[in-house]
């Protein structure tokens, strides 16, 4: 039982990374109907930007310019990096996706893949191939809850990611901008006729998605403090799987599917040899999709497929 609970907590942490990245994927996917294959690399870039911001702030406070406690540095790092990465996301949308809005969707997918490669390579050129250690901002404290060990890092990661997901959900449900986004997901041909600035909405979608990916990147850096330029690839593709598994355009579905993917991976590794993890995880996903071909929360849609 304790083993189960322990793994449950690990799975919650692992799933929150997937969930945060999958939300960004799912938003872009539902609103613009395209695969943003660069998203995993935006996650990676966000993590590196967070590293830069955190290092700069630690250096500043060590030099006595500003006196900040570590937790405040972490909060500021997350906020700053989210903003900076949002600009990166908007730039990518402007350069790589907007010119292709009426092109076949697969072409935009290829652009995304290529932008991802450019981000990885640019990172390699700028910082070299050595792995980078993320500065330790949170002193780990372990709580013992009847044999189950919980660190404050894990609690923070799960709480931060859940509250970000919830905030986004509220934003999309309650605000006018959110309504515009939902409308665009519903029918992007009619929406501009209603006076909704679709270019602004598209840019905002990318900004929000990239911001969440940056948050995931920093949280990942806190939990596993070693960064390398290719860490986004696997995360990106798995988040893609989670986003589709959740169903088209469902923030809730993407979050849930991210956690489900995390749970499957952790629990498969608990029961079976860990080399079988991918095999079993993807077999389960394949089965889910065979029986629910439109994802968990998705509906069959008859919109023109522009592949």
């Amino acid at each position: 039982m304790t083993v189960f609970l322990q793994n449950l907590i690990n799975a919650l942490q692992w799933g929150s990374f997937y969930a945060l990245i999958a939300i960004g994927y799912s938003m872009v996917y539902s609103i613009l109907m395209l695969f943003n294959f660069a998203h995993g690399d935006i996650f990676m870039t966000g993590s590196y930007i967070g590293f830069g911001v955190a290092t700069a702030m630690i250096a500043l406070s060590a030099a006595g310019m500003i006196a900040l406690p570590n937790w405040l540095i972490l909060v500021l790092t997350i906020l700053f990096s989210m903003v900076l990465t949002s600009f990166l996301g908007m730039f990518i949308e402007r350069v790589g996706y907007r010119p292709l809005r009426d092109a076949p969707r697969a072409s935009a997918a290829i652009t995304g893949l290529m932008i991802g490669i450019i981000l990885e390579t640019g990172n390699l050129i700028l910082l070299g191939a050595q792995r980078i250690k993320f500065p330790a901002l949170v002193q780990p404290v372990t709580y013992d809850l009847g044999g189950v060990f919980v660190t404050n890092q894990k609690i923070m990661i799960v709480v931060v990611s859940l509250s970000l997901a919830l905030a986004l959900h509220q934003f999309i449900r309650r605000t006018k901008w959110g309504m515009a986004m939902r409308a665009m997901a519903f029918d992007y041909l009619v929406v501009p006729l209603m006076g909704v600035p679709i270019n602004k909405i598209a840019a905002m979608t990318f900004a929000l998605g990239s911001g969440l990916a940056a948050a995931a990147g920093i949280l990942f850096g806190v939990a596993y403090p070693v960064l390398d330029p290719y860490m986004g690839i696997v995360f990106g593709w798995k988040a893609f799987v989670a986003a589709i598994l959740g169903g088209r355009g469902s923030i809730l579905g993407a979050t849930l599917a991210g956690f489900i993917l995390g749970f499957i991976e952790i629990f498969v590794a608990m029961v079976f040899p860990s080399t079988l993890r991918d095999f079993i995880a993807y077999s389960i996903i394949l089965m889910i999709l065979v029986f629910r071909p439109y994802g968990l929360f998705g509906e069959p849609y008859s919109v023109r497929l522009r592949l």
């Binding site: 290529m114 932008i115 390579t121 993807y282 065979v290 592949l307």
Partner: protein, 431 residues
Amino acid sequence: MRTSNDTQNTTRRFGRMRDFFQEVPLLGWLLGALAAVSAEKFAGLDLAHLVDLPRIPVLFGFENALKKPELIPGTVCYVLLIYLAPALLAGRLLQSPANRLAAFLSGRWPAVSIAFHLALLYAVLHTWSDVNDYRLIVVKITLIAVMLTLSLNVINGYMGEFSCSHPGFMALGAYAGSIFTIVLFTNSSMYGKALLPPAIGPYLYPLALVVGGCVSAVGALAVAIPSFRTRGDYLAIISLAFTFIVKSLIENLEIVGGPRGMRGQPDWSNLPTVFACTVICVGVINNFVRSTYGLALNAVRDNEMAADAMTINTQRTKMIAFLFSAFWAGVAGGLFAHVLRYVNPGTFGLQQLAEVLAMMYFGGLNSVYGSIVGAVSINLLSEMLRPLEIWKWIFIPLLLILVMIFRPTGLIAFREFDPLRLIQSRAKSGS
């Protein structure tokens, strides 16, 4: 005023150049290329020393020019003298006999004419790759890439799905083919002594490739059957999951070497075999997509419901397309394994997927031409830019993004590939 005049002059000059070479048929160009590569074979080294190059430039001198800029003039001279001059001269000089021969052959025996062209093409490739081993590997890998790209185009281009399962198909073919040859014809540490005399191996090698293709086609059922109920993005995920599953399965099967991979494949993927397989693949796929099956694929892509109403059996069509495409991907995988003589599951991952998708969409959807052009150009480009090291991975993606922005369906999309038109005489009427 002056610039517009200049532009006009340039256009006119290029126009005149084009007129000058307009009537050279494919046969003439092949003969010209043969002249160029023969010139390189017999005089290449001497000329290279004459223009201060240490050795024959491997891929048209790009690697020299990018690494050591002082070699650029020599390289330019070399390329002009060895490749361009003989090819253009021979092509132009042989224009009228080549035209007459092409007209004669394609008028009487089109099959003979095609065989003759293919033989010439093979001679060109053989002579060119004879100069060193690196070229040979590049040619083989490029030909295999043509097969892969073309088979991907059947699903992604002609049927309009976004399939990510090609690395998985390739892995199945590579492993099945390797097991076939290693178990039957070689004494290996993994599977013991050869079961059949190794001498007959090379003759049964095509069978190994076919076995690889068939295993891959059986594996494709895992993607084809779900495709009845779903399409588009969900099928993309299913096919992606298929790739991950195959890779993970191979990693966990100790009997095929697990993550360490498998080595010791006999060296039977020589240039004639790879060339023959590629030619057969291009021919068969080209005939397939121009047949009623191919048209049915297009109908399913454009509107599945309407296709169904027009009495097309959509399930059967999808099934055939997936199995057919997977078969050729498997054959390509088998060849690939025997070229490198080593496979490991890591080869067939996301990197391979990105590569083959890039080649296909760069070349063009729904087009045999496009796939050939895409595979050859991306492969050669990535080999030629090798001296740029890491910057290569900035330039190639940028190029692809630009192509996607300015030609969203790829360079040569929706073009029919008609070999008979390609080889006919280009002479203006009256000759």
